[in-house]
Amino acid sequence: MSTTTELQKDAGTAGTSEETLLELKSMRVFYGAIEAIKGIDLTVRKGEIVALLGGNGAGKTTTLRTVSGMLQPRHGEVLLRGERIDGIKSHELVRFGIGHVPEGRRVFSTMTVRENLEMGAYRFSSVDMAEMDRVFTLFPRLAERRAQQAGTLSGGEQQMLAIGRALMGKPELLLLDEPSMGLAPLIVQQIFEIIEEINKQGTTVLLVEQNATQALGLANRGYVLETGEVAMSGPAADLLADNRIRAAYLGEGAA
């Protein structure tokens, strides 16, 4: 792609180390004969928040689903702490410390809030109550509604529950797919603050968002996907300042 730019300065942001947690190497993913991801390279370092941006159909969700083993790449590699993890099924991958908050929240609607959180801890032989308390501290609303069925929660509460459920699996890497989707601005603000808090407490975050301004405001670095390829990447501040990004994703007319 001719528009591909590298804004690769050193992202010397506080709180991140140079240790690579997740690495995608020329990863290509297909749906049948259709190539959805056309060979992308992407790195997430330990402690970072990395934003994955792009329009509809750019391949953001497909990338996350491939990282968490719901899809398998046809070519290329997925490495976690330098170890190949492609080819491993999602239910086994949770043990490697990957938590995935899927697009559209997808809470277990006929289970209670508490049962949903217990499901998040399914990989452990018993539910860690301290972890549940931590989730309830992060999301006091969930604590109030712990006995309520998840289907009766508001959209924002369901998003909180989906994040809390993923945290119960004690992930080192948290994949978040459009956590702001369909939520009121005030709730989106809350969710983003909580993501920041989760990151401060030591969880690395790979965040897929349509809401580019807010995502880049939070992230250390960002990648912009266009039709299955990385169109741009670099420190969040640089991407925010880039004219083309502003034109394409921040709704500003200037070209």
């Binding site: 968490s68 239910h91 995935h100 899927p102 277990f108 289970m111 499901m119």
Partner: protein, 307 residues
């Protein structure tokens, strides 16, 4: 119909219904995790009955066994039926359905496979065990134990009802309280997300079949104990229990229990009112009426609901 007749038939209806309920659970559990109507479940029921027959022929209870020996024979027969039912259901999933799942086959293919598996199994049973109906060897001296609203209840009926109730309570606890139960409900609601939580979907589906198979197999024993064992015995109770599962709301476990009891009562009540030949007709009329007015079944709302 006199009041006494009403009570007599009500007691009989609840007992028959408890059996339908246990079979219906097998349909509803599998539907929950696979969205598949497992038409071969009637053959799980039938082979469960043969399991108890084979065990009883091996131990051959003589005339007038002692009370303690009777309990032992019943337990062995039950274990035999549970084993046959569980293994059949496990095998069905492994051999017939799992390969289809791997290939992402369309729903219709699953359904046709289920019907094919049902044909295969009952013809196989006819070939292996002979085509004449056989009674189960007598395990105890059957007599009336007590009367309920003036209706006499004998050991066979008591055994049938008590076993059915114990199995239903155990299953309800398993689904609502245990980790496996939570896994089953999670897979029923959203298998993909359940996988993200670390639920091994294949394992959960396999165990769901085994649980349904054990229930269906034991129901086969209880049914045979009241009637006879034959290779075609699964068809009518299977279809009726399937109707019960749909009436209660397919996918809903308590719905299956409720639907089973309801159909059992309606069927049995039909006998004094319209005559024995109308039994199955009345069950299907209930099904049609429920589907007309509540297409999702009486307790509705499927998806992995325990309650």
């Amino acid at each position: 119909m006199s009041l006494q007749e009403f009570w007599d038939y009500l007691v009989l209806g609840v007992m028959l219904g408890s059996l339908y309920a246990v079979i219906a659970i097998g349909y509803t559990l599998v539907y929950g995790v696979l969205q598949l109507i497992n038409f071969a479940h009637s053959e799980v029921f039938m082979l469960g009955a043969y399991g108890s027959l084979i065990v009883l022929q091996l131990v051959s209870p003589g005339d007038n066994p002692s009370a303690l020996a009777s309990i032992g024979f019943v337990a062995l027969a039950m274990a035999g039926s549970a084993l046959f039912g569980g293994v059949t259901a496990y095998g069905l999933e492994k051999v017939a359905y799992r390969p289809l799942r791997r290939r992402g086959a369309p729903r219709l293919i699953f359904l046709i496979t289920a019907i094919g598996a049902s044909f295969f199994l009952y013809n196989l049973a006819g070939k292996l065990f002979g085509r004449d109906p056989l009674p189960l060897p007598e395990m105890y001296d059957n007599h009336t134990v007590f009367s309920l609203f003036g209706a006499g209840v004998n050991i066979t009926q008591m055994l049938q009802f008590a076993t059915a109730v114990v199995m239903m309570v155990a299953l309800d606890l398993l689904v609502t309280r245990t980790k496996l139960g939570k896994g089953i409900r999670a897979v029923a609601q959203d298998a993909e997300v359940a996988g993200l939580m670390g639920v091994d979907i294949d394992k959960v589906i396999s165990r769901t079949f085994i649980i349904g198979g054990v229930l269906g197999g034991v129901a086969g024993f209880l049914f045979a104990n009241l009637n006879q064992v034959s290779y075609t015995m699964g068809f009518i109770p299977g279809i009726t229990a399937f109707a019960a599962a749909v009436v209660g709301g397919i996918g809903n476990i308590r719905g299956a229990m409720f639907g089973g009891i309801l159909i059992g009562i309606v069927e049995t009540m039909t006998v004094p009112l319209l005559g024995d030949e109308w039994r199955s007709v009345s069950a299907m009329v209930v099904l049609i009426l429920v589907l007309m007015f509540r297409p999702m079944g009486i307790l509705g709302e499927r998806v992995g609901r325990a309650a």
